[in-house]
Amino acid sequence: MTTAFICETGVAAPLEGRNIDTDQIIPARFLKADKQQGYGQYLFHDLRFDQAHNEHPGFVLNQADFRQARVLVTDANFGCGSSREGAVYALHDYGVRAVIAPSFGDIFYNNCLKNGLIPVQLEEPVVDRLRSRLHAGPDRLVTVDLERLEIRGPGNETHAFRIDPFWRECLMKGIDEIGLTMGYLKDIEAFEHTYRAEMPWLQR
């Protein structure tokens, strides 16, 4: 069960670069930990830290203005690559509640939906401009409003976004998806009955 998300306002951090893959979001060597141990410490690990575990001062989340980021504003195809859900665990545990990008890796997008992290897809020029405004400051607050389906950023810019109504409802109510599906058990059983009769070669 994830926590419900209606509307949240927080510092937004601009993260540059297309095709930021889930290996960047969390390197593979940190995926052995149980979720309860907290994945936030590993978020963007090799971008945040050098090999002696000193912070890279140039990385956006190491800068005083963005350390407390609750929203990430990034570039196209964010979260491409590996299906590791640890990437979403790391973002969420760090405190990020929404990611704004022109496009996302499909599996990452789905993983966000299961963990109460809001993937907000906006047109590339809009996202580019938003990142520029965040770099420039001083206003760095972004509101992600799932109820009104809009984001409000610096300079009073408002942009509508879309998310499938089914997922929106799940996110806003913190609906437990497995619990929801259990309500379809009769449909699943009926499906299996017919399906197995038609495809006997799938019996194992």
Binding site: E85, I107, T181
Partner: protein, 485 residues
């Protein structure tokens, strides 16, 4: 009690609208649909590996069990050692724990599995087709992005996260949004020395790393039709590197011949019934696709990546591109960052780039045909750089040894190891050292993928073997002549 109030699930025959293969398979798996949004999709087969510990923890937390263990198959692959077959030999005690935890989860869930000591163990995406577990018309999932591999047999196969994995284990279904469809037609004919890997790298270069986002790909055209199943597996494997939800090839006689007689494949009457159904699955003539892409197969040459995204690839006779000549500022800055990480200078001929290490393996290129291609280049030659060859399964290893391929690799100076994901995922302790440059038959050249600061060049098995022999990226056609491999 089987008499539900529900009407039998008989769909009207729509004889007039030509359907795509994707639509036929998808439609047959819809359990429930709501007015809008995703459908509840039935999952025929779920393949699981060590990473599934999150999903098992979730089942335990909720007091749930595995709904249909017979439709799940597990094998450890991501964390397994490649120099021995026990958890004690793992790269670290923590890695060993991942393998033992996997075994105990399999026992807890009653899930059929091929443990590390089983000769059938291997990379999930190698053993599914190898065992005849993956079949045409299925919907198959695995908590690994390269699940797209299995689409080569005419299945819808896609990667999922661990929350979705728990959902499948508990319900044998998933809520999924129907992706758009994209047909990629590869026309013409592959020229000598051009591998399936080169075809898919050329496709990804053409459409981009996010070029197929939100789409299910169908690979079509004479180049695909002429491919063996193992070659199609390589192509479909890297669909995810173009951002696709899945990649498929139409089941044909090549497919049926490949499947027949495999351990889990249907037999006798069931085989005949399956064949009748499978022959209906190919896209109907005139089926509509949301996007059509055409690739000139005649023009594809052996490919190699120069950057940190699989779409940053060029033919081996090309040069490292110059970011300053790129007009799109996003593309330029991404290319600059990639070249800085890769330690490459614009304008350098790819064939002059020195290599420190060779990796032949991964779910992309670790099947018997891949090993034969590499061995053909290495036969009678010596590698001048170190490297390893990691077969995709215990059975691939056995077959390669029966053919004497192991001797060719060992005599060339390469390590011949046991099956697993190894240096592709770099989770088991097999890593490329910082700043070392690896010619790799794997699927991702991401920053840090093969180890912190490791530099990866993706290429085919024959091209990796050629680089091993010369110590630099090499056009395999120059080394062995245009008629081979």
């Amino acid at each position: 009690m089987f008499r539900h109030c529900r009407e039998p699930d008989v769909k009207p025959v729509v004889g007039t609208t030509p359907a795509s293969m994707f639509d036929k398979v998808w439609n047959r798996h819809v359990v429930a649909e709501r007015a809008t949004g995703p459908a509840l999709l039935y999952i025929d087969q779920n393949l699981i590996h060590e990473g599934s510990f999150h999903a098992f923890a979730e089942l335990r937390r909720r007091g749930l069990s595995v709904r249909h263990p017979a439709q799940i198959l597990g094998t450890p692959d991501h964390y397994v050692p490649t120099h021995a077959r026990t958890a004690d030999a793992a790269g670290s005690p923590e890695i060993g724990r991942m393998i033992r935890q996997f075994d105990s989860n399999m026992a807890w869930g009653g899930v059929p599995n091929f443990p590390l000591r089983d000769v059938r163990q291997g990379i999930v995406h190698v053993i599914g087709p190898e065992q005849g577990i993956t079949l045409p018309g299925m919907v198959l999932v695995c908590s690994d992005s390269h699940t797209s591999t299995h689409g080569a047999l005419g299945a819808i196969a896609f990667g999922i996260g661990q929350s979705e994995n728990a959902h499948v284990l508990a319900t044998q279904t998933l809520w999924q949004k129907r992706p758009a469809t994209m047909r990629i037609t590869v026309n013409g004919r592959r020229t000598d020395g051009v591998a399936a890997k080169d075809v898919i790298l050329a496709i990804i270069r053409q459409i981009g790393a996010g070029g197929a986002s939100g789409h299910a790909i169908e690979y079509a055209g004479p180049v695909i039709a002429a491919m063996s199943i193992e070659e199609r597996l390589t192509v479909c494997n890297m669909s995810i590197e173009a951002g696709a939800r899945c990649g498929m090839g139409a089941p044909d006689e090549t497919t049926f011949k490949y499947i027949e007689g495999r351990p889990y494949a249907p037999r006798g009457q069931a085989w005949q019934a399956a064949l009748r159904y499978w022959r209906t699955l190919a896209s109907d003539p005139g089926a509509a696709f949301d996007r059509e892409v055409v690739v000139d197969g005649d023009a594809i040459r052996p490919m190699v990546t120069w950057g940190t995204s699989p779409d940053q690839a060029v033919p081996i006779d090309g040069r490292v591109p110059d970011p300053s000549a790129m007009t799109d500022p996003h593309v330029r800055s991404t290319a600059q960052a990639a070249l800085s990480y890769m330690g490459l200078t614009p304008g350098t001929r790819l064939a002059e780039v020195p290599i420190d290490y060779i990796f032949i393996g991964s779910c992309t290129n670790s099947r018997i045909e891949d090993l034969r291609e590499a061995a053909r280049v290495l036969q009678g030659r010596r590698a001048v750089v170190p490297g390893m060859v990691v077969p995709g399964s215990g059975l691939v290893k056995r077959e390669a040894e029966a053919e004497g391929l192991d001797r060719i690799f060992i005599d060339a100076g390469l390590k011949w190891l046991d099956s697993g994901c190894s240096m592709c995922a770099a989770m088991n302790g097999d890593v490329v050292k910082p700043y070392q440059r690896c010619a790799s038959t794997s699927n991702r050249n991401f920053v840090g993928r093969q180890g912190p600061q490791a530099r990866t060049h993706l290429l085919s098995p024959a091209m990796a073997a050629a680089a091993a022999v010369t110590g630099h990226l090499t056009d395999v056609r120059d080394l062995v002549g245009a008629n081979t491999p």
